[in-house]
């Protein structure tokens, strides 16, 4: 994969795309700007998104609004315990008139796949989705079929009401670039939401503002974003901080470093910048890292979430300068 240094025009295009998508989503989901930004960064960094929160805060709405705002195909899967892998990937059916098998693509063959309540499906079905996320292809009856590009899985998961569910193991969660807790809206935002739903479906008002081709170009631009050694140093310092933290039983993997950098690049491009700032890393550290680490028993007992631990680490790691000031030799 070759990367080219993005031109100012390309950067402006990405920034403009991000602005337009934000505007559209804002009409539906006021007050979720951070979640929207993280979602956009995830899609531009070719990652996948895990939305984890209580029911009714707009997880699915966010996913659907995103699908509408981007002029792309949207597949939706409601995960249930009896869902089979073939319900996700598609199935070959025999056509008697033509004496051959024909492949009926499953809902996974879409630019944006909304996987609702992924933890309700059996591990086998979960694995089928997660494999296709990793490979960006589906293999049925020995034939490998590529998935469309761009390809984004937005999975939602309900952290309470866990009976009869199969929570995603850590290794599987690692395949999602970001996890976002949507959270409750502020009182003002909630009132605005009531107004928006007054009599009609606000989703219907969301107009497509970007095509799949636009997204493809933006993704290419993001790949060319520059990350200076100082930023990489900072990013590695943060990730290593999770491994040395007494509050964490399991730190973040090297894969998380790659994904954090990719997401930070996307955020930089969305701001029209051709280089990553430590601010990008900071903004995305919790969404990218929190679902990959396991808090230690005492942290859990103290009621500290993984996000809180990550924020503690961010408050400890120094932002490196290009060169240390006054690095004079002292005797």
């Amino acid at each position: 994969m070759t990367t080219t240094v993005p031109t100012a025009a390309q950067l402006a295009e990405v920034a403009d795309l991000a602005r337009r998508v934000r505007e559209q989503l804002h009409t539906v989901l006021s007050g979720l700007d951070d979640a929207v930004d993280a979602t956009l960064a995830t899609i531009l960094a070719e990652g996948h998104l895990l939305l984890e929160d209580v029911p009714g805060v707009g997880k699915t709405t966010l996913a659907r609004a995103l699908g509408r705002a981007l002029d792309t195909t949207v597949g939706r899967i409601q995960f249930t315990p009896d869902l089979l892998p073939s319900d996700v990937t598609g199935v070959s059916v025999f056509r008697g008139d033509e004496h051959r098998f024909e492949f009926r693509p499953g809902p996974v063959f879409a630019n944006i796949v909304v996987a609702d309540e992924i933890n309700r499906a059996s591990p086998k079905t979960q694995a089928a989705l997660l494999e296709s996320m990793q490979e960006k292809a589906v293999t049925v009856d020995g034939e490998t079929r590529p998935l469309p590009s761009p390809f984004l899985v937005v999975a939602t998961q309900n952290p309470i009401d866990m009976e009869g569910t199969y929570p995603l193991p850590e290794a599987q969660r690692d395949r999602f670039m970001t996890r976002i807790a949507v959270g409750y809206p502020s009182p003002g935002d909630e009132i605005a939401m009531l107004d928006a739903h007054d009599g009609h479906d606000p989703l219907a008002e969301v107009r497509p503002v970007a095509t799949a081709a636009d997204l493809e170009r933006a993704i290419a631009t993001v790949r060319g974003i520059y990350a200076s050694p100082a930023v990489k140093q900072y990013l590695v310092d943060v990730v290593r901080g999770t491994r040395g933290s007494a509050d964490l039983r399991l730190g973040a993997s090297p894969r998380s470093s790659l994904q954090l950098l990719a997401a930070a690049k996307a955020r930089a491009a969305m701001a029209g910048r051709d280089h990553v700032l430590p601010d990008d890393v900071k903004a995305l550290a919790a969404p990218v890292l929190a679902h990959r680490v396991i808090p230690a028993a005492q942290a859990r007992a103290a009621g500290r979430s993984a996000e809180a631990v990550i924020h503690d680490i961010l408050a400890r790691v120094a932002v490196p300068a290009a060169r240390a000031p006054e690095a004079l030799s002292r005797g």
Binding site: V5, Y226, A227, S228, A230, V231, D274, H275, V276, L277, P278, D279, K282, L314, A315, R316, V317, A318, V319, A321, A322, R323, A324, P325, E326, A327, L328, S329, R330, G331
Partner: protein, 717 residues
């Protein structure tokens, strides 16, 4: 904030190291209660520095606070007010008081005998020096971060010990060295400090080798270079480390070389103690030296001896000599001499049947294997035997050939001496004198005059030691005594050198004579009267002249602001407690002027050094060459208001705007420009060049606006 804590610990350690530096004066002053206020002032100053450092992040402000506190404490402790009370609040008169104390300390240092008892003004001067040393080292090591290099300053108080005494109190030196090394070790911990700590100390930790190299260099300078440079060539140039007294040996007069070892070793070992009903003895006499070959003396051979009974005195002056005798009870320690020490006046001994007396040398021999070890005896003496009248009376006998009874060796002059030249000097000195007594007094006055300086720093000479001494004027008691003996002989006065101890120091009812009291003096023969001691060695070493010679007059003695405080400490050794002034010869008229020149030079040097440091600090603070240094400079100037090191430039900008004082639009724009420049420099693939002038301007805009805003807030609130 871990990075800052070492400073709080380092400052007391530096105070300890500086305080132990007083140990470097061990041979020059007598330690006593005066150390307590010195320690208290030093401790209080260190406490002020530590507290100030807790209160402020600025590197040198604590030093300034410490200097003010230290100066005030010294004024309170050492400068009496006009009414004699304590000066709580320095006023105009305090300057006068300060001047008086300084003059007094200087006079005292010049005239007192080392090791000197320390009186208040001298203690004040020493305290001032110690506090100044502490503040300088603290500013260098903790303020500026040059912990290792500060060792060179800490070396300063040891220079007198190294260059004058060539002895170093090992335990104190080891303590100071240890404290200093601890400061270095502590300073290494600051490498992981906050960004401000690192900005001050340098981000890359100094290699451990740097500390090692500094230690090695310090020891090299202390032990080799300084003594060689200042002491010059010659034996004894290498310093000797002193063992604690409990490990040391006993003192004994070394008759083979000369007294230099006894003098320079500064032995505090008691040789003997005595009680006396007639005050301190001038000298206690043991040996006679009559033959001088130009560079060294030979002991007199033992002549006819008789039991040491009756009045012991070489001249038969008839009985009863001792009409109103004084009594002396002497107790020897471990010292094993072969002669019994007696006063240099007619005396009787109440002890020891095996003792014998040699009238030709005036020595009392003791015939037992252990010599004088643990000897106790009582002496009765003719206290006021020598008087000006009796000595003047001898002139008649001289004319009548009274010297013929004296052995010829006491007039002998070795041909290696430039006899004619010495005689010329002697005749010039005694030109107007009539009679032997006046000649002797003239010679004594000549040596105690301004041309001669007491010093144990005498290079070895081969050939004519007397001419060398007369030319360069530097020597200790042996040189003075030898020169006076030789000059007397050129004037046909029989003369010899006597060796013994000076009278020691009072300790309760007793007097204690120590190894460092070893002394040599000339004796001149007065027919019909005997051998009479004169004292050419300057007052710094021996104190007053013999009572039977004219005393110092106010014209040739420096003014004494406190006559009762006349130095009583005992004789010997080093010139004066202050090496810087001690080496100077007294001024022409014999009065020592206050060394204003020295003070002015020192003050100028201090001011110059301070200005250089300040300028360097300014230069470093304003060393805005690129965006990174501009950013660092701005953060340093804003201090805590710039947030901490975990903030990105953009977050720092927000922090300053939200938490700091209100900067105003222009300064906020400058701050944003600065932030953009540093982000660009750090993180962009190719950074735009921003000229240093613009960066400097932005930095100044922001810091100036912050200061203004803060001032405004203070004014309002």
């Amino acid at each position: 904030m871990n990075g800052g804590r070492w400073r709080l610990l380092a400052t007391p350690l530096i105070a300890i190291a500086a305080g132990l530096g007083v140990g470097g004066l061990s041979g020059l002053v007598v330690f006593g209660d005066w150390l307590r206020p010195t320690g208290a002032v030093l401790g209080a100053t260190a406490a002020v520095v530590v507290l100030a450092r807790l209160a402020t992040g600025r590197p040198f402000l604590p030093s300034v606070a410490g200097a003010l506190a230290g100066a005030w404490l010294i004024v309170v402790a050492y400068v009496p007010g006009p009414d004699g009370g304590t000066t709580w609040l320095p006023r105009g008169e305090t300057l006068d008081g300060l001047r008086v104390v300084a003059e007094r300390a200087y006079w005292y240092a010049q005239t007192s005998v080392a090791p000197a008892e320390v009186e208040a003004s001298l203690a004040g001067a020493i305290t001032l020096a110690v506090v100044a040393l502490f503040l300088a080292v603290d500013a260098l090591a903790v303020g500026a971060g040059f912990a290792a290099s500060s060792g060179f300053l800490l070396l300063a108080p040891w220079l007198p010990a190294l260059t004058l005494e060539r002895r170093v109190p090992t335990l104190a030196l080891a303590g100071a060295l240890g404290a200093w090394l601890a400061v270095i070790a502590l300073s290494r911990r600051s490498d992981r400090g906050t960004w401000r700590a690192r900005a001050r100390d340098g981000a890359s930790p100094a290699a451990p080798g740097a500390a090692l190299a500094a230690t090695a260099a310090t020891l090299l300078v202390a032990l080799v270079a300084a003594p060689l440079a200042i002491g010059g060539p010659g034996w004894g140039a290498m310093p000797r480390l002193t063992l604690p007294a409990s490990l040391g040996g006993n003192s004994r007069l070394d008759l083979e070389i000369d007294l230099r070892n006894s003098l320079t070793e500064q032995s505090a070992e008691p040789v003997l103690t005595y009680t006396s009903d007639s005050g301190r003895m001038d000298v206690l006499r043991a040996y006679s030296f009559g033959t001088f070959d130009g560079t060294s003396w030979d002991r007199d051979p033992v002549g006819d001896t008789a039991p040491a009974t009756g009045v012991l005195w070489p001249e038969d002056t008839g009985s009863p000599l001792i009409a109103e005798p004084g009594t002396l009870a002497i107790r020897f320690g471990a010292s094993a001499e072969s002669r019994v020490f007696v006063p240099a006046v007619p005396r009787t001994l109440a002890a020891g049947s095996e003792w014998r007396y040699d009238a030709s040398t005036d020595e009392v021999l003791i015939d037992r294997p252990e010599g004088t070890t643990d000897l106790r005896y009582t002496v009765r003496l003719a206290v006021d035997f020598h008087t000006e009248e009796t000595l003047r009376a001898a002139d008649a006998l001289v004319a009548a050939g009274g010297d013929s009874a004296v052995p010829a060796r006491y007039l002998d002059l070795n041909e290696r001496i430039d006899i004619d030249k010495v005689r010329q000097v002697a005749q010039a000195v005694t030109g107007s004198a009539t009679g032997r007594y006046e000649q002797a007094v003239a010679l004594q006055d000549y040596f105690r005059g301004p041309n001669f300086t007491y010093s144990t720093d005498v290079a070895q000479t081969t050939g004519d030691a007397v001419s060398t001494f007369l030319a360069d004027g530097n020597g200790y008691c042996v040189q003075f005594a030898t020169a006076m003996v030789v000059m007397a002989r050129t004037l046909d006065i029989p003369a010899r050198m006597a060796i013994g101890y000076l009278g020691g120091t009072a300790d309760g009812d007793e007097y204690v004579v120590r190894g460092r009291d070893a002394h040599a003096w000339p004796e001149l023969y007065f027919p019909g009267h005997g051998w009479v001691r004169f004292e050419p060695t300057p007052a710094v070493q021996t104190g007053d002249r013999p009572a039977y010679t004219p005393q110092d007059t106010p014209e040739n003695e420096p003014e004494q602001p406190f006559a009762t405080e006349r130095p009583t400490a005992v004789p010997s050794r080093a010139p004066v407690p202050e090496p810087t002034v001690g080496a100077e010869a007294p001024t022409e008229d014999g009065s020592a002027g206050f060394p204003w020149i020295t003070v002015v030079v020192l003050a100028l040097a201090a001011a110059g050094g301070g200005a250089a440091l300040w300028a360097r600090g300014r230069a470093r603070a304003s060393a805005v060459t690129d965006a990174e240094s501009a950013w660092a400079t701005m953060r340093r100037r804003l201090g805590v208001r710039a947030g901490d090191e975990t903030l990105t430039p953009a977050e720092t900008e927000r922090w300053i705007v939200s938490e700091g004082p209100d900067l105003g639009d222009a300064a906020r724009a400058s701050l944003a420009s600065l932030r953009a420049a540093v982000e660009d420099a750090r993180y962009a693939p190719t950074s735009r060049a921003v000229d240093a002038e613009a960066l400097s301007r932005w930095v100044d805009d922001v810091t100036h606006a912050a200061k203004e805003a803060e001032r405004g807030e203070k004014a309002r609130g």
